[in-house]
């Protein structure tokens, strides 16, 4: 960890992510205005440094006169909540299935991994649109949709790592000591594959934020009036020529968040699993 702190890019990414997390958690304290309430007299105001801008609305206002900065801050909340829940759900389901497949092998392995192949081959956007149309856009549904796409990655990684761990004598010895398969998977396999899975989870953060933004952009994500970065971009799309700030700021928010999440993910990968990227050093 101390070696990481000497890399400026890591420090920057870490600071940005930490700030974002803080702002998202304590959104009501940071947001200058209510993100859902607009003042129609102040609609489409440009950012403060442009002509006609005011410091009351630093990043300007949208078509309904809502404060962009406040919506970004609350949007971070939505993005991060979706992210955390989806990764938790996909991670636990995917990892469990992967460990079971890897540990038992044979028919169990074949069945689970064919389902994984199926999940990977399904086009994500299509699946999401179908799901959105069938069940309507809601916060819970978007978490489920993203998890449906994500779990297969965890299953694959968990299976591969389990196969590797299984080759160790301590697994045989645990069996020879009378440990049940469940006990071996929980006590011997899981703690040893957890490192890789955590790294995978950090690498997925960026993907999930982009997915959530894409789905919200397409209208099957977080329903209005909850602010989400993707839907903010979608709403601002028709005004992008005259009011660029409607799209640019949420776009930048996505960009910076994903970038810093990926940098952190890479750094953790190198730190926790140096053998994975040996060629790079």
């Amino acid at each position: 960890m101390s070696a990481l702190l000497r890399k400026p890019i890591f420090v920057a990414a870490f600071a940005l992510s930490a700030t974002l997390l803080l702002v998202a958690v304590f959104a009501p304290w940071f947001a200058p205005h209510n993100p859902m309430e607009g003042n129609l007299l102040e609609r489409l105001m440009p950012p403060a440094w442009e002509d006609g801008g005011t410091w009351r609305h630093v990043f300007g206002t949208d078509i309904l006169g809502r404060d962009i900065l406040s919506r970004l801050i609350y949007g971070a909340r939505v993005s991060l909540a979706v992210c955390a829940l989806a990764i938790l759900l996909a991670g636990s389901v995917g990892s469990s299935l992967g460990i079971v497949a890897g540990y038992f092998g044979g028919v169990v392995d074949t069945i689970i991994m064919r389902i994984v192949d199926l999940a990977i081959s399904l086009p994500m956007i299509l699946l999401a649109l179908l799901f959105g149309v069938l069940f309507g856009p809601s916060f819970n549904n978007i978490v489920v949709i993203i998890s449906l796409v994500l779990w297969s990655q965890f299953a694959r990684m968990a299976r591969g790592e389990t196969l590797k761990i299984k080759a160790n004598d301590y697994i045989d010895l645990a069996r020879s000591a009378g440990a049940s398969p469940l006990r071996i998977m929980l006590h011997h396999v899981l703690p040893n594959v957890a490192g890789s899975l955590i790294v995978l989870a950090t690498l997925q953060v960026g993907t999930v934020i982009i997915m959530e933004a894409s789905l919200s952009f397409l209208g099957v994500g977080v329903p209005p009036p909850l602010p989400a970065w993707g839907s903010m971009i979608a709403e601002g799309r028709s005004y992008v020529v005259s009011a660029w700030w409607l799209c640019i700021f949420p776009g930048l928010a996505v960009l910076l968040t994903v970038l810093s999440a990926n940098i952190l993910g890479d750094a953790f990968t190198d730190e926790l699993n140096p053998t994975l990227h040996e060629g790079r050093r």
């Binding site: 010895l173 703690p191 040893n192």
Partner: protein, 331 residues
């Protein structure tokens, strides 16, 4: 019951699936281990000795279970017909194991106290707060210096020899009656080997522990075992008390193995080796399995598999023309 051997294996066969065929890695093995006795199981790599060891606890892969034949009686109970929960109660409680490589025998994410406690936790109702105490006691039995602080050490903080002692501690934590030691000293250096062997001997004396000692090292056998079974290509070709085997080997393979051992104080130019290689599982000879490499091979050897012949009550051999005359009785 007290006169019956602790372990009695009769005509054990272990079939492993390869593609669509079943190949017998262990093919008609008979073994007997008395209480507190050490039986050596000697053979080349691939002769089926490790598979035999695993089969004793029914630890061979589940896909091989339909192809497990014969009988394994542990203290009168038939291991091969036990269900999963009976097997789990047997494993670690009655029979436990030490494997070759101490580097991978311990789980790197738990401290050694946890790993010793695991077996106790599975098999007994010792309350959680007494577990550390029990673990320290076990560490003391395997002569780990300063067990109280070592209890919280992780495997990577210990040396190879120390790790193997911990593996031993894990194995004896529940006071088993039979320990299967599968080449436990192969990856240790020679001085540590000697210490470890002494340790095992000591543990055995303390608790009347029987051992199946699987190895390819005849020197270790001479030092550790009461009786020896020599395995070749899935079959046991000779069983004898250890002195008897070294002085009067009856099977030509055993004789060649012993003849191949370098002796202290005798000058030799080259180490003697047995010409040829053991047969592959998928192309076993029809007759005696050692016939293609045997210096004393005759026509009959290539035609029929020899039966096991008794040389005396403790010495048996699977050979048509043993080096030492058989008494004539066949098993």
């Amino acid at each position: 019951m007290s006169t019956a051997p602790l372990l009695d294996v009769k005509d054990l066969r272990v079939g492993l699936r390869r593609d669509d065929r079943v190949l017998y890695a262990v093919d008609g093995v008979n073994l007997r281990i008395e209480r507190g006795e050490t039986l050596g199981l000697v053979g080349e790599s691939g002769s089926g000795k490790s598979t035999t060891g695993l089969a004793l606890m029914k630890l061979t892969p589940r896909s091989s279970w339909p192809h497990l034949h014969g009988q394994i009686l542990f203290d009168g109970r038939d291991v091969l017909s036990m269900n999963d929960s009976q097997l789990r109660a047997l494993r670690g409680r009655d029979i436990s194991m030490v494997l070759q490589d101490p580097m991978t025998s311990l789980n790197p994410v738990f401290d050694i106290g946890d790993q010793i406690a695991e077996g106790i936790r599975i098999h007994t109702h010792v309350p959680e707060r007494e577990l550390p105490e029990r673990a320290i006691e076990v560490l003391r039995r395997v002569r780990i210096p300063d067990p109280v602080t070592r209890l919280r050490a992780y495997p990577h903080q210990l040396s190879g020899g120390m790790k193997q002692r911990v593996v031993g501690a894990v194995a004896i934590a529940c006071q088993p009656r039979l320990l299967i030691a599968d080449e436990p000293t192969t990856s240790l250096d020679v001085t540590i080997q000697a210490q470890y062997l002494d340790l095992l001997k000591g543990l055995q004396r303390e608790s009347n522990l029987a051992m199946l000692f699987i190895t390819h090292d005849l020197g270790v056998v001479a030092r550790m075992c009461d009786r020896v079974a020599v395995m070749y290509a899935g079959q046991i070709v000779e069983t004898a008390p250890v002195r008897e085997l070294f002085h009067r080997p009856a099977h030509w393979y055993a004789s060649a193995l012993i003849g191949g051992m370098p002796k202290l104080g005798r000058k030799i130019d080259r180490l003697i080796s047995i010409p040829g290689a053991p047969p592959r599982l998928d192309s076993m000879p029809t007759g005696c399995r050692f016939a293609p490499r045997c210096p004393n091979v005759q026509a009959r050897c290539r035609e029929a598999v020899p039966d096991v012949a008794q040389i005396d009550s403790e010495h048996s051999v699977r050979c048509w023309f043993p080096k030492v005359a058989a008494s004539g009785a066949t098993a």
